[in-house]
């Protein structure tokens, strides 16, 4: 089945000059296995291409169940010359979480709970 990254992961974006970077995080090890399979430089680049066709770099970090991504040429040259309302790309992690991914129903359930960091 197809879901959005938002259904199995959380994310934050930030800026350095003209590059936007993303931390993408699974809720648990099962979710990380899905991220590691579905999310790489090529799939993320294809997701952003209709809007921002810059090069994407990707670093998996299994030790913290996370994937680090950098999207180049994303801010019209940099935050202080970018004419967009979101001139620093702080809302762009939301655009990443829109990315469609493919997984099984069992994988979806296993990716959503338990959540390692949420104690009662």
């Amino acid at each position: 089945m197809k879901v959005r990254l938002a259904d199995i992961a959380h994310a934050r974006s930030g800026d350095k000059a003209d590059w936007v970077d993303f931390g993408l995080f699974a809720w648990n090890a099962a979710g990380y296995a899905v991220l590691a399979r579905e999310v790489n430089a090529a799939t993320v680049q294809a997701h952003f291409a209709a809007w921002l066709p810059g090069r994407v770099e990707c670093w998996p970090l299994p030790n913290i169940l996370a994937i680090k991504l950098v999207l180049r040429d994303a801010l019209q040259g940099g935050g202080a010359r970018n004419l967009r309302l979101d001139n620093l790309g702080k809302a762009m992690a939301g655009a990443l979480l829109r990315m469609p991914i493919e997984l099984s129903e069992a994988e979806l359930a296993a990716s959503q709970s338990p959540r390692v960091g949420w104690w009662p």
Partner: protein
Amino acid sequence: MAKTVRIASGLGFYGDSWEPVVASIERGGVCYVCSDHLAELTLAILQKDRQRDASLGYARDVVPMLMRLWPLMRERGTKFICNAGGLNPAGAAQALRVAFGTKSWKARIAVVSGDDVLAGLSAAGATFPHLFNGAPVEGVRERLVFANAYLGARPIVDALAQGADIVITGRVADAALFLAPLVHGFGWKLEDAASAADLAKLAQGLAVGHLLECSGQGSGGNFGSLGAWQAIPDLAHIGYPIAEVADDGSAVITKAPGSGGRVNFDTVRQQLLYEVHDPHAYLSPDVVLDMSTLALSDLGDDRVRLTGASGRARPEQLKVVAGFSDGHKAEVTWGFSWPDAMAKAQAAIEMVKSQLADKRLPHDELFVEYPGLNSAHGALAPLPADVGELNEVWVRLVLRTQVKAAADGFGRLFPWMGLSGPAYTCGLHGLHNSGELLGIWPTLIAREQVESKVRIEVIET
């Protein structure tokens, strides 16, 4: 040697709230408050202040911040480290001296200077290639407005060794503000760190600094997620993160008891990777941090343990960020309502384009976006199926031009359309809303060219 050092996060940017720091001081048992006032382009704002008044050029919020916090810090012996000096650390210290004088407060303030490298970048023949695209600085040299190197922890460590209660720097690596009191408190090796164990301590210290440098982003603020953010309690009274660091570098991230927000595996991870590129080589002036070996364990009750970061020897060169004038912008926003909201918005945009052509207003670009529809996610934001039935459409038109007069005149293209354009519009604003654009120039500089000029001056209030 201290067994643990407890550090509180101060501000995360110029304009942030210092009220959460009160709880960290009163209930968090911290020995240091470290405060980051400088985002990548804050120096451009400070440069404009300094042009207007040579005594300015620093982050002015440090004065009211310390007027609020210093009485609480003084009675507990808490020290304060910040980069609020911006382009004028001596000016910041002088403003604090005057303010403390009105209360007869005594403090020993150390001022660190030497990060300003504008003269070096402006010198004829200097290349300082752009870190991302390799272009020589020559193309923007005449338009440079500031250029500052990121200093490391050393001058702050030295200032603390000289008994400073308050350390004010200009540009330093954000995380170095936090690494410095650990090096000072534990006597860690810094530039002479060579063994894996010594480098690992610095790497842990740098990771701690990175987790604390953005205030509430390290304790549940700005938690980007579908739904999960709603489980984070009482952001209105958020507690900024606090680190308890042991002399082997292992650390626990927490926050003041009774404060809002959340410190858990997830909130800490979002901050750990924030504005990081290659996580195997997070560069700083003091150590290169490898995040792929570290472990975060959630202890519950807003405590997350950080261990296992590894480090490599510091880079030969220091990073510089310079800013240069890069044209002007003017922006106008306007609302269109049902019926035909989108069609009328697009008709108005065409009228603006006709005006630009008729009046031959020089410009590079007319950028258009629709706040409420696509301004945050661009082409990745799907439009509703029936665009024709939208209740309202807002349009934001931004002109980019090299000519200041063209930017200043852009707003005058609009008012006549109030009576002679499409109907049922409202909220036209931005008739006098032009400003300067800045380009950013990241580059590298030889370490000795900067470090030989770093100075520490200690003043008493």
